[in-house]
Amino acid sequence: MAAAVHDEIIAAIHSAAILHQITGEAAYLDYARGKLLWYAGHYEQYPPHGKHAGKGRIGAQSLDEATQTVELTEAYWDLCPALSEDDGQGLPISC
């Protein structure tokens, strides 16, 4: 059920990023930033899989992967002003 676990964690990243925007609480920034960067660093390690409805790496199928990516992208957008150049892992941070 790892696909559902990813789904829950990514939803939490999304929510935490919004909560950081609303409240400014550092704990939400730390959680969302940490998990977002974790996925950025490990994404390639997830093998593409799926036989029912397209393939995904962290998602169960291509649609899940797409919707999860939207949540991660929105979280990145919300967190972006608080990220540093070091967080980019070699990629430029651009808000």
Binding site: M1, H49, I58
Partner: protein
């Protein structure tokens, strides 16, 4: 408005869906993959091929919004066979959409939205009939028996001119950036301060984040598997296809891992 947004899911027969509230509608709760919608079966609407008895509003490209009743509605079906214009049969395919019937001569024309080609069909009692012989590749539509009069021609170009002016006007002025990804966070904060429902959403988000944070220290590695594959949180790995729904597994096995004897197929590691 459509029959379940045009995918013939028919969660309930003759239940219509819309993003706008209509008489007698209740909320169809959303899922992980779909948003919540207004849905309902309209009064006396039990026969196939009836139009829903609701009032709808339509927004037009020139900016005006008009309201119209069920007598002005017509069903639009997605074309199945392009050569003949034959629509998908009821219960199969993208379903039926309900829009205002605009009277252009004999009522039959085709048009395209996104990748669908639609055919507006005559309603004859319970039957739906479509004419043939219309070029489906004309955009926005080609009416099979329509004469474009000079006055209409001028009116059309005036409309095009107004739209072009409006487009240039909008694009020439800078668009204010309300905040991150277009959300006006200042207004969001005001809502949270002043509205109970907004505070309830924030409270639920806090709870959800705390629960997930407590439940999973780190995301699991390894193949994610299908949505019904079981993940063992104790070993942070492994997945098992049990043939049972995740809900039933959660209810019975919360906090512990399923034993191998109860698995029908396992993969990954540590389970």
């Amino acid at each position: 408005m459509s029959d379940y947004l045009g995918y013939d899911h028919w969660r309930n027969p003759r239940q219509f869906s819309s993003c706008e509230r209509f008489g007698g509608a209740t909320v169809n709760e959303g899922t992980l993959l779909s948003s919540a919608l207004w849905g309902g079966t309209t009064e006396g609407d039990t026969e196939p091929n009836q139009v829903p008895k609701v009032r709808l509003r339509a927004a037009y490209l020139d900016g005006h919004v008009s309201s119209y009743g069920p007598e002005a509605l017509t069903g639009v079906k997605v074309i199945w066979k392009v050569d003949t214009g034959e629509p998908y049969p009821s219960g199969i395919g993208p379903g039926e959409f309900f829009i205002r019937e605009k009277r252009y001569g004999n009522h039959h024309f085709r048009f395209s939205i996104f990748n669908f080609q639609f055919s507006i069909c005559h309603r004859m009692g319970r039957q739906v009939g479509c004419r043939e012989g219309v070029n489906p590749l004309q955009f926005p539509f080609q009416h099979s028996n329509r004469i474009l009069w000079k006055g209409q021609f001028v009116k059309r170009w005036i409309t095009v001119g107004i739209l072009a002016w409006a487009t240039v006007s909008v694009q020439s002025s800078p668009i204010a950036e309300p905040g991150s990804r277009g959300v006006d966070w200042a207004k969001v904060k005001i809502r949270i301060e002043t509205q109970d429902w907004a505070r309830a959403i924030v409270s639920r988000m806090r709870t959800d984040v705390a629960t997930t944070q407590k439940r999973y220290a780190e995301p699991p590695l390894g193949e994610s598997g299908w949505f019904h594959d079981y993940y063992c949180p104790k070993t942070r790995g492994g997945w098992c296809l049990t043939g049972k729904s995740q809900r039933s597994i959660d209810a019975r096995d919360a906090g512990r891992c399923i034993t191998a004897a109860r698995m029908t197929m396992c993969g990954g590691g540590g389970s």
